[in-house]
Every structure is written in C-alpha cells, then in structure tokens.
C-alpha cells in the first residue's frame, strides 16, 4: 500500500469514529441524539433541530446513487491515470449523503437511482475508505 498516490485524508478528532469504523469495515455516520437525523460529515450541531447531542451509528451501507459527475481534469497527480473517473453522491437508506466512488461500473454506465452497497478499500495501514458497488 506504500505506492498509494491519491490524497490520504487526515483523521481529524471529530471524524475519528468514522475512520475507526471504516478500519473495521463498518460504515458509520453521525446521528442526532435528539431528533434522530443522520448526518455526514461530522458537525457540531444538528441543522434540523439545533441539538448538540450526537452519537455515531453503524448504518446499513445500502443506498442509491443520488447524483454523479465524470471528472476529466487532473487536480491531483494520484488521479492522472484514472481520468475520466466518476465521483458519486450516495444517499444512504438512513438519509445521509456521502461523496464517494462507485467501483466496478464504467463512468458512463452510472445512473441516478442505481441501488448500491458499501465496500471498503484499505488504502494505508491507518486509513480505509468506504466506497460503493452495485447492490
């Protein structure tokens, strides 16, 4: 994995539960302890009810493609060999949306509404990225 050349996200304190979960191949998002809304990425306050009480929950990992784009420009050398590549927004069954990648589907075969399930890519010893595959 030392030849991994894409950006490696920093594990910030507020996002550590997400990365700890991903390491165990569990997809975790934040959930408001007051109103139950799921949210991602981590935020200090619930934009639905303004509660500051939240906890992390493991979610189903099931969802659907909400939208996507196909990137043709290289903004980071780690993606140079992959353009054009797709970035997707997945809407989880629980409601939160995640920016991610869809594996195993050529960019031009991606459709809004496609059912997907989470998969995990261990990119370093410390960091695992949740991605998605057709369900």
């Amino acid at each position: 994995m030392s030849d991994y050349r894409k950006p490696i996200p920093a594990i910030t304190p507020e996002m550590r539960p997400f990365f700890d979960g991903a390491k165990r191949h569990e997809l975790r998002v934040q959930r408001c302890s007051a109103c139950g809304a799921h949210r991602f990425p981590a935020r200090a306050i619930c934009s639905d009810c303004l509660s500051t009480d939240a906890h992390w929950v493991t979610v189903s990992g099931r969802g659907e493609i909400f939208s996507f784009n196909v990137m043709h420009q290289v903004y980071h050398p780690g993606f140079a060999a992959e353009v054009p590549y797709a970035v997707v927004i997945v809407r989880l069954a629980e409601g939160a949306k995640l920016v991610s990648n869809l594996v195993g589907v050529p960019p031009h075969e991606i459709r809004i509404g496609m059912p997907v399930r989470v998969v995990f890519e261990d990119i370093t010893d410390e960091v695992t990225l949740p991605k998605f595959a057709p369900a």
């Binding site: 043709h72 420009q73 990119i123």
Partner: protein, 390 residues
C-alpha cells in the same frame, strides 16, 4: 419610505480584463475605483464609503477595504467593509451602499471587486494548458480522497440531477453558451470578442467535468471593476446619466441545492420587484449571474421566465441570443466576456441603461434585471435598475 430611485449608480470603472499580468489585486481594485470616480466626474475627496468584495487573490486574512483605502490614500471614510457572499456580493454591496446613503451614514460609496488568480504562462507550458482554473480547484479533506475537486465538480452534481429529473440536455446548456458568445462577439471588451462559436464548436469542446464542457464554465479573469453609488440628487449632478436603483433584494434559501435545484432568486425577486413596482414583462434586459451555463438556466426558471424544469427548451431556440425576445447577458457574461464575479452583470446593466452598448446595445433598454449568485445556488442578490427616475 421605499428606497426606489432614492439612490443611483453614478460611475463605472472597468480595468483591462483577462490575461493581464502587470498589476495585482490591490492594483486592479485601485484602478477600477479611480476609473469609476473619473467616469462619474467625482474625485477621491468625494468618496466617503468603500465596500470591497475580495477575490481569491486577497487571501483569507481580510481587511481588504482597509488595504484598498491605504493604497488609494483615502481619508476619513464613514463606511468601510469587506464582504463575501460569493457571486451575490456585488449586488449586495450596491444594496448596502444604497441603504447607508439613504440613512445618512455617508454620501458616496465605491463598491469594488478585483482578483488576479491568473499567472503568466511559463515557457514549459503548452498553449492553453496554463491552468486558468487551478485557483478554483481546491479539494476538501475527505472529498479530495475520492477525487472531488473544485466548484465545477459540485455544480456538475446539481446539473446532473436537473437533467435526470427534467430531461435537460447538454445541447440546452450549449444554447446558452452560444448565445453568450454571440453577444461577446459584439462587445470589444470581451475576452472572446474575436472568437465566434457555433453549437458544433460547443459540442467539440473538451469535457471539464461531465455534464460540463469547457464552454459551460465561466472564464477566469484578472482585473478590477467598481461602481460608485450615491444619492439620486447627487447622481444627477454627475458627469454621466444616473442609473437608478429601483429595487433590491436578497435570497439565501439554505439547505441542499441538489435537492431543490432552485437558487435564492424567488425570494430575492419578491423583495426587489415589489420595491421597484415591476413585473417580468417590464424587464428589457436580464444580466444574470453565469458561473456556468446551467446557472443561467436555473436562474431563468427561478425568476419565472419559464417554469421549473423548462429552462432547457426555453433557451433552445435562440430566445436569449442577439435578436431573441429576451436579451440575456448582453456583453457576453462571465462565460464569454470576463469574470468579475457579480460585478460583470452589474456593469453590463449600467452600460445598457446608459445606451453605451454599441453593437450590442438593446434598443430602448430602460429597465434591467441583475442577478448575483454565490456558492452552489446558495446566495442570491437581485437589483432592478433603470435609466428612468420613475
């Protein structure tokens, strides 16, 4: 008492635009204010207010209006602030200037935007690959890990949903790009003045991030642009005819624009049109914020020129191009003229209402609609401007 026609734009200053490398952000801003004062027939001593929308080159440390004040040797300002609500800022600066003047806080305010994100091409660069958009290619933490970089990529997600839900096509977006280019070909100050474009040219342009091609995305420009706002009475004594502020409003809907596919225009329009006492039928020219072709399409829907979802067919027949029934972005907009954030549409409205449009002048243009849009359909400002006082 309504603010209608109590204030006016009395001066307009536009520096050289585009690949201009002989100044920097403070220099461009200073030059724009100097030109605007000259245009109005005013001097530095007349200026007692300064509002600055700092572009990317100003950095995050702020106090842009103080930097500009010092650079221009301005003394005893009674109003000074830096503002940023993205592309809505230009219209909002004009609004706050008008309100402050009407409230007696000050008399004459320069509203200015400048930026200098473009760097001279290096010898090793192949032509056309100097990375004009690099300054806007920022990635954020986790999203960068998935290859999501920049505003283009975020807007593309929203456009993709509009296409999915309403059947909007890239040719619809192309019709907007072609219309803007045709206007730019009539504007000697436009960066693309000498470069015609057909729909076939548009289709042949490279993808940036699907569904956006190169010509769906605005230019990136070095330069500065300023307007002078003052009381209507004072404006009538200035060198050029006043452009009266009939109506103003803002709309910031919040939430997720990829869910709503709607900008802040409906809310901003409601306030601005009520103040101005106008309807859409009264609008002679529409200068709409166009960071992307798609933004124009959504903005046309949101002001009610057509229904939500029908923006594609609305623009497909040349309706917004020269000779069409609704002149939109008559200088070429930010897609084909120059990118001064919200100041591009403000400036073109002033030019049209003064009758200074030359080959692109819309006959009898008396009332202009100006929109500003920031973030991803996140912030919005509306101005209704007129050459008439009532």
């Amino acid at each position: 008492m309504s603010l209608k026609s109590r204030t006016a734009i009395a001066g307009l200053g536009i520096t050289a635009q585009g690949k201009v490398y002989d100044s920097n952000h403070v220099g461009f801003a200073s030059e724009a204010v100097r030109l605007a004062l000259h245009d109005a027939g005013l001097t530095r001593a007349d200026l007692d207010g300064l509002l600055v929308n700092p572009g990317l080159s100003w950095g995050d440390l702020g106090m842009a209006s103080f930097q500009l004040q010092q650079a221009m040797g301005l003394r005893n300002l009674r109003l000074s602030s830096s503002m940023n609500s993205g592309g809505a800022t230009a219209g909002s600066m004009v609004q706050y200037a008008a309100q402050a003047i009407d409230a007696g806080l000050c008399t004459t305010v320069a509203c200015v935007f400048s930026d200098a994100p473009l760097k001279p091409p290096q010898p090793k660069d192949a032509p056309g690959t100097s990375g004009s958009g690099a300054a806007y290619g920022f990635g954020r933490g986790l999203e960068a890990a998935y290859g999501q970089y920049g505003v283009n990529a975020m807007y593309a997600m929203v456009a993709q949903r509009h296409m999915h839900l309403y059947g909007t096509t890239t040719d619809h977006l192309g019709a907007i790009a072609v219309a803007s280019r045709a206007w730019a070909n009539r504007n000697p100050a436009a960066q693309f003045h000498d470069t015609p474009m057909t729909l076939a040219d548009y289709r042949n342009s490279r993808w940036v991030v699907e569904p956006f091609r190169l010509f769906d995305c605005c230019l990136v420009s070095n330069g500065g642009l300023a307007v002078i706002v003052t009381s209507a009475d004072r404006a009538r004594d200035c060198r050029r005819p006043p452009v009266y502020l009939w109506g103003m409003g803002q709309g910031h809907p919040g939430g997720d624009p990829s869910e709503t596919l709607t900008s802040g225009a409906p809310l901003a329009k409601h306030t601005a049109f009520a103040m101005a006492g106008v309807t859409l039928d009264d609008v002679d020219v529409a200068e709409l914020y166009d960071c992307y072709t798609f933004t124009v399409l959504v903005t046309l829907e949101d002001y009610g020129f057509c229904k939500k979802g029908e923006g594609g067919p609305f623009v497909a027949d040349g309706r917004i191009a020269p000779g069409g029934t609704l002149p939109v972005n008559t200088g070429g907009g930010q897609l084909s003229s120059f990118y001064m954030w919200g100041m591009t549409p403000v400036s073109e409205a002033v030019i049209q209402l003064r009758g200074d449009g030359g080959a692109r002048q819309v006959a009898d243009a008396k009332i202009a609609l100006v929109s500003g849009n920031g973030g991803i359909l996140s912030t919005h400002s509306t101005l209704v401007l007129s050459s008439l006082s009532a």
